[in-house]
């Protein structure tokens, strides 16, 4: 479980996060939603340690991240898998080398064991016969799947996904969402997803945190989000013509 305790962050005079407190539960898909500029990405970067909060603390199973020494932080980071918005695959490495990268860095597995693990996770994300291809030779959806495979290759306890559906068509986006949800349940990991895609919210939102102007405005799940009386959340949920008509 990840606990966010009164996290605040400002860049100069601009306050981006104000006293945000919430928790992300193990074995569930925890979503951070909100409009652009609401502080979603900054909150996620505070969680994975790319930004230090000005105040407050992020705790991973009782381990306060920002108070840890650098060596311990790096140990904790090895338990994390992160799916970046653009995939962040290493473009000089093949698909196989990308997925094998965490195994090369942090395990003493033999090459055969590593290759077996790589093939297993690639198969898990429904990718076969792509091992020798470079990131520039595969589609956006495949890139996301390779990035997921890399993120889970070293059996992480925590999986962070920053806008996993951005730039994908609705069908591929649904496949990616489903995949993340299945992996979360299968491996009982704590998954945190940063999104503003309402399809994702309604499909896999087991624990939803709505950020509004840097504050935690609402928490709930995919069933309760459609019936909330919160005006800001309603404005966000029913912001498209399609959702307004459905309502």
């Amino acid at each position: 479980m990840i606990e966010i305790n009164k996290v605040s962050k400002a860049f100069g005079d601009k306050v981006v996060l104000k006293d945000v407190s919430t928790s992300f539960e193990q074995g569930k898909t925890n979503l951070i939603i909100g409009q652009s500029g609401s502080g979603k990405t900054v909150l996620m970067k505070c969680c994975i340690g790319l930004i230090d909060p000005d105040e407050g603390e992020v705790t991973f199973n009782k381990r306060p991240f920002s108070s840890l020494r650098e060596k311990r932080k790096r140990e904790l980071r090895k338990e994390m898998g992160v799916l970046f918005q653009g995939g962040a695959l290493f473009d000089s490495l093949t698909v196989e080398e990308n997925v094998m990268f965490p195994l090369n860095m942090f395990t003493d597995m033999s090459f055969e064991e590593k290759r077996e693990r790589v093939n297993f996770v690639l198969k898990r994300v429904n990718l076969v016969n792509v091992n020798h291809l470079y990131p520039s030779e595969i589609s956006g959806g495949m890139m996301k799947r390779v990035a997921i495979a890399r993120a889970i290759s070293n059996n992480p306890q925590y999986l962070f996904c920053d806008e996993p559906n951005s730039g994908l068509d609705p069908k591929t986006a649904e496949i990616i969402d489903q995949l993340i949800s299945e992996i979360t349940e299968e491996y009982n990991i704590t998954t945190v997803i940063n999104t503003h895609d309402m399809n994702s919210v309604l499909q896999i939102g087991q624990h939803i945190n709505f950020l509004y102007k840097g504050e935690l405005w609402w928490t709930g799940d995919k069933n309760s989000i459609l019936h909330t009386s919160n005006p800001e959340l309603n404005e966000f949920v029913f912001s498209t013509e399609l959702t307004r008509r459905l309502k």
Binding site: I48, G49, L50, R74, E75, L76, R77, K78, M80, V82, F84, Q85, G86, A88, L89, F90, D91, F101, P102, N104, M105, F106, F160
Partner: protein, 249 residues
Amino acid sequence: MMSLKALHTIGEYLLLMIETFKRPDKGPVFRRQLLVEIVGLGVDSIGLVVLMSVFTGAIVALQTAYNIDSPFIPLSMVGYTTRQLMVLEFSPTIISIILAGKVGSRIASEIGTMRVTEQIDALRVMGVNPANFLILPKITASMLFNPVLIVISMAVGIWGGWAACVVTGMVSSVDFVEGLRGWFEPFTVTYALIKTLVFAFIITSVAGYLGYTVNGGSVEVGRNSTRAVVISSVLIIGFDLLLTQLLLV
């Protein structure tokens, strides 16, 4: 204001170097990276270095021969001048400036692109020290292989001078070789190699720093790549003066 910014930049560069020179996470991975960089930064530059050196050696020899008017100056001076110029300045300094253009811009743009496409963030959140993983193999590769390049440059440059003299018939092979072998001070080669090591460090560390600290998008990557070449070249000339004063005078 300017001096504060310069101090901030120097401080940031030094902190990055401290991160860079930490023990690599995994020895075999580092060695593999080192080999890749030796090929990419060193072996791939051999062709350019040979081409530049042969022509410069030839030009230096022909210019010297053309400018010797006095019958009191022996033609063997052409061989001597070519050797001295290649060993003392052209090979270590000018080739290093050329490498700053080729290798420096490559390093800055490669690392800069990795920064803007979140690949460096990906390394960091995996628990890898990105500065150590990306910059240390490049610095080590250049410091190991640039002396080889410079020795090649000296050899083929002198050969170019000899070939130009013999082909044009301006200086005989005997005269050229006599000058080449005369008044040789072995320390000049040591001096050239010390300079090469310092310049290799400057090229790779400055380019690594400027790539690593890119903030923005493709425009900034391009801008920092250019800055890497300009700053490295200026530093090479500055350190050339300093090292010449320290080692030769």
